[in-house]
């Protein structure tokens, strides 16, 4: 076997109040996919950010292709051949997708001018080469890109010339199954091209499917480095969490006859003639491909987007909902999928972010006591095991998964009649996922109606009482739990006839 393309020795890193990594060592060989797993806040992103020169390491050393790199700056790391596809894509809003891919390294003409034509040409070639044809309009402005499209931009940015090792930080979190499959094909292609690949994910079945080796982190400490053939998902979970976890989640049906949400002939810029109901205690799953319009439907119901026709009834009463404030007044809650842009106030504290939606409920004559806020939300923060040095910590400084949990804590604490969850477990680790399912289940038992949009098939299948599939702004007939299979859903989503 050839020598390691990436060799990390004894890396350590601390933040105020947190020792994020201690003495982590790993190697990646050319043509190898190494998975990197661990609970939320275990230190995965920190490790990758050190490799790409974003953070400086406190101790240890890193060698790429046999030469030690100081990783003093992102530029050095890039030039040395290390590339990171970040958990949260960093997109420049007012320039084109193509330009977003080339920032920092524009192709130039002899005159020194930026060669826009060449940039578009290379982009188009890369889209073809990596199988993204038709998914990305290369002239669209950065700010108009969907999460999936943003991810593609990040990927292409990483794969531009000189790449030796590429790390994917939870790349499938914002992708549907179909998109994910495409990504796996890409990773296999890169493996064939002899790159070293690091793959971070909470989806252990993906890890089993795609990787050659798996490195496990727990609280910043390495707890395992195993060949994939020699391990099982359960082994990995043990190393991550330090205990056994029940596999999957099953819930009893609790729905009652009381209809909480009744949508009749709803249409909008994205939707045509949508009608469905959700009863108290019922969880209705929404499946579909990217662009099917699920998120938009949630936002129309929540008053963030305008509807052009139809009625919405909450508990039998017709509600005019023109803004999120109206929706909340009508007892609707909505945890959005894009936590950074829509969910969180990154510069504010955990406690503020978690209690934002219940401010009015907690206040007496407009006055809000911190103690009341803590009392209300800290149970959820504890149940969700949100890892933070204190309740006053800025949410932006938490790990990705913990940020997601803060958004959930907010809406779990609010306990509205109808709760809309858009990709609730995105980027959440296996242990916490089970906990989130239990909390959602509890809420439904308390009589909440839950609309759960998810691209994770197992989650949809195990949690939903009924599943509605969306395609092109329209919905399918609900599939009852007992009839729901992965195949049936995929067929409806793609518009192919069920067998």
């Amino acid at each position: 076997m050839s020598s390691a393309i990436l060799d990390v020795q004894g890396v350590g890193k601390s933040f105020p109040g947190v020792k994020a990594l201690s003495n982590v060592s790993m190697k990646v060989f050319p043509g190898e996919v190494v998975a990197f797993v661990g609970e939320n806040g275990a230190g995965k992103s920190t490790f990758l950010k050190i490799l790409c020169g974003d953070y400086t390491l406190d101790e240890g050393k890193v060698a790429l292709d046999g030469t030690e790199v100081s990783h003093a700056s992102p530029l050095e790391a890039r030039n040395a051949g290390f590339r990171l596809v970040r958990q949260e894509p960093e997109i420049v809003p007012h320039i084109s997708a193509a330009e977003n891919i080339f920032i920092g390294e524009y192709p130039r003409r002899a005159s020194g001018r930026v060669d826009h034509a060449k940039m578009r040409q290379i982009t188009t070639e890369m889209l073809e080469r990596y199988g993204f044809v038709g998914v990305l309009d290369i002239d669209a402005l950065g700010r108009t890109l969907s999460p999936a499209q943003q991810h593609i931009v990040e990927i292409l940015r990483a794969l531009k010339d000189g790449v030796k090792v590429v790390a994917f930080d939870e790349p499938t979190a914002s992708l549907t199954t179909e998109e994910a499959d495409r990504l796996f094909a890409l990773i296999r292609q890169l493996r064939k091209e002899g790159l070293g690949i690091i793959y971070v994910s909470h989806r252990l079945h993906e890890v089993m499917e795609i990787s050659d080796r798996v490195v496990v982190l727990k609280d910043g400490v390495q707890t395992g480095d195993l060949r994939i053939e020699e391990t099982t998902e359960q082994d990995i979970v043990n190393l991550m969490v330090g205990r056994e976890l029940a596999h999957g989640y099953s819930r009893d049906e609790v729905s009652t006859p009381e209809v909480v949400l009744e949508v009749e002939n709803l249409s909008s810029r994205w939707h045509r003639d949508i009608s469905f109901q959700i009863r108290a205690g019922e969880i209705v799953g929404f499946a579909g491909l990217v662009g099917a319009g699920r998120t938009e439907l949630a936002k129309v119901l929540f008053g963030e987007f305008e509807k052009s026709g139809g009625t919405v009834k909450i508990c039998g009463e017709v509600k005019t909902i023109r803004s999120p404030a109206d929706a909340i007044a009508a007892n609707i809650g909505f945890a959005p999928e894009n936590r950074k842009a829509e969910g969180l106030i990154l510069v504010r504290s955990v406690i503020e972010n978690a209690s934002m939606a219940v401010y009015s409920a907690l206040a007496r004559m407009g006055v809000l006591r911190t103690s009341a806020m803590i009392e209300k939300v800290s149970p959820f923060i504890q149940k969700l095991e949100i890892k933070t040095p204190s309740l006053e910590q800025e949410v932006g400084k938490l790990s990705g998964g913990n940020q997601q949990k803060v958004v959930l804590a907010r809406w779990l604490a609010a306990a509205p009649r109808l709760l809309i969850l858009d990709e609730p477990t995105r980027a959440v680790d296996v242990g916490a996922k089970a906990e989130i399912y239990r909390l959602i289940d509890d809420l439904s038992k308390q009589g909440l109606a839950i609309m759960m949009i998810s691209s994770e098939m197992p989650e949809l299948l195990s949690m939903s009482d009924r599943i509605i599939v969306m395609r092109d702004g329209q919905i399918s007939e609900p599939i009852e739990k007992q009839d729901a299979t992965e195949e049936a859903i995929v067929n409806l989503a793609l518009g192919t006839k069920a067998a």
């Binding site: 933040f15 020792k19 201690s22 803004s323 955990v350 503020e352 006055v367 803590i374 933070t388």
Partner: protein, 351 residues
């Protein structure tokens, strides 16, 4: 292990030391302002024995009232990720309106309310331009900065300052309370500022309205999706800024015994904006405190007082002010970097 327990522990422990409680109240970030203030006061006091005279301290308090009131409102605006460049012009309008009300109707209370009232109206106009016409706050208030100044002159008969010699009004600007033989008393204008600042501090830290300002400033989309009505918030915030600018205008009238359409209310916007940013607010919004802004106002007022005490010529005053601003923020940055490094080291050592 979930670290959450520490957090609850922290908040649960009520027996923190007085020093710690002070630091908490002031906010770690603002300590650098206090350090800068102490250094500066030490420098001034070694040069002149008069600095610490009761009269001089009262003087500082009195002189900071006008900018201070505006800086309170500006804090709300900037935390909400807005900006209000029209504050000085609003003060100008209010100064004239107050003077006209007092001279023509003979009522000082009426004058105060009229001044604040016009401030609120102009603030609501700002909010309307921003919300309804969707003009960004900088352009909107640059526009009204100009327009309201024009209006101030148009309200004043022939565009002239309106003299008011009412002693009750003058008391507001230069009166003292609790005056005794040995104690020169506390300036009314200063007490007014303290009162307003305390209320604003309470509002910002402990009310739904205040907390929502932080939310909307930090991420307007997330705030809206959490049920905050951004338009209504904006109306309220700019109305508060307008009311306080109006009150500042009333004080200008009281201090100068004339309604000043422009003189005396010019340049207030830059002064207040300086104070709020110096006090730790972020340009992007979501951060900033009343305590920080007030410390910054105090710092600036003390600097200017000290330099006048020492008879430093204007040109050097300008340079010194620039140096102080840089110094105060740089100390803060340096402390922040150092404390983060230390805390990280502690964490590395295993706390």
């Amino acid at each position: 292990m979930s670290i959450t327990e520490n957090a609850t522990l922290q908040i649960a422990s009520p027996k923190s030391s007085a020093l710690k409680r002070f630091t908490n109240f002031v906010g770690a970030e603002n300590l650098s302002l206090i350090i800068a203030l102490i250094i500066m006061v030490a420098l001034i006091a070694t040069q002149t024995e008069f600095f610490f005279s009761a009269r001089n301290l009262m003087n500082i308090g009195q002189n900071m009232a006008v900018v201070g009131l505006i800086a309170v409102g500006m804090t709300l605006v900037i935390v909400s990720a807005g900006l209000d460049i029209s504050v000085g012009s609003i003060a100008g309008c209010a100064s004239v309106v107050c003077a006209l009300t007092v001279t023509q109707m003979g009522t000082v209370t009426g004058g105060v309310f009229a001044g604040m009232g016009i401030g609120i109206i102009l603030g609501l106009i700002n909010a309307t331009i921003i919300s309804i016409l969707r003009v960004n706050p900088v352009v909107a208030t640059l526009a009204t900065f100009s327009a309201f100044r024009g209006v101030a002159f148009l309200i004043a008969p022939d565009g002239r300052p309106v003299g008011v010699l009412d002693p009750n009004l003058a008391w507001l600007g230069s009166g003292r309370l609790f005056q005794t033989e040995s104690f020169p008393g506390l300036p009314v204008a200063f007490l007014l500022l303290v009162l307003v600042a305390v209320v604003a501090h309470f509002v910002m830290t402990s009310t739904v309205f205040g907390r929502s300002i932080y939310s909307m400033g930090g991420n307007p989309v997330a705030a809206r999706l959490a049920g905050i009505n951004l338009t209504r918030m904006r109306y309220a915030i700019y109305a508060v800024s307008g009311a306080l600018s109006g009150l500042a205008g009333v004080l200008v009238t009281a201090r100068t015994s004339s309604g000043q359409p422009a003189s005396g209310t010019q340049g207030l916007e830059l002064e207040a904006i300086t104070a709020v940013f110096l006090g730790g607010a972020l340009m992007a919004g979501g951060k900033g405190t009343i305590v920080g802004s007030m410390l910054a106002v105090l710092l600036l007022a003390t600097l200017s007082n000290g330099m006048n005490l020492l008879g430093i010529p204007t040109f050097y005053q300008l340079v010194a002010k620039g140096l102080l601003l840089v110094l105060a923020v740089a100390i803060g940055q340096w402390r922040l970097a150092r404390s983060e490094k230390q805390q990280a080291k502690l964490a590395a050592a295993g706390k």
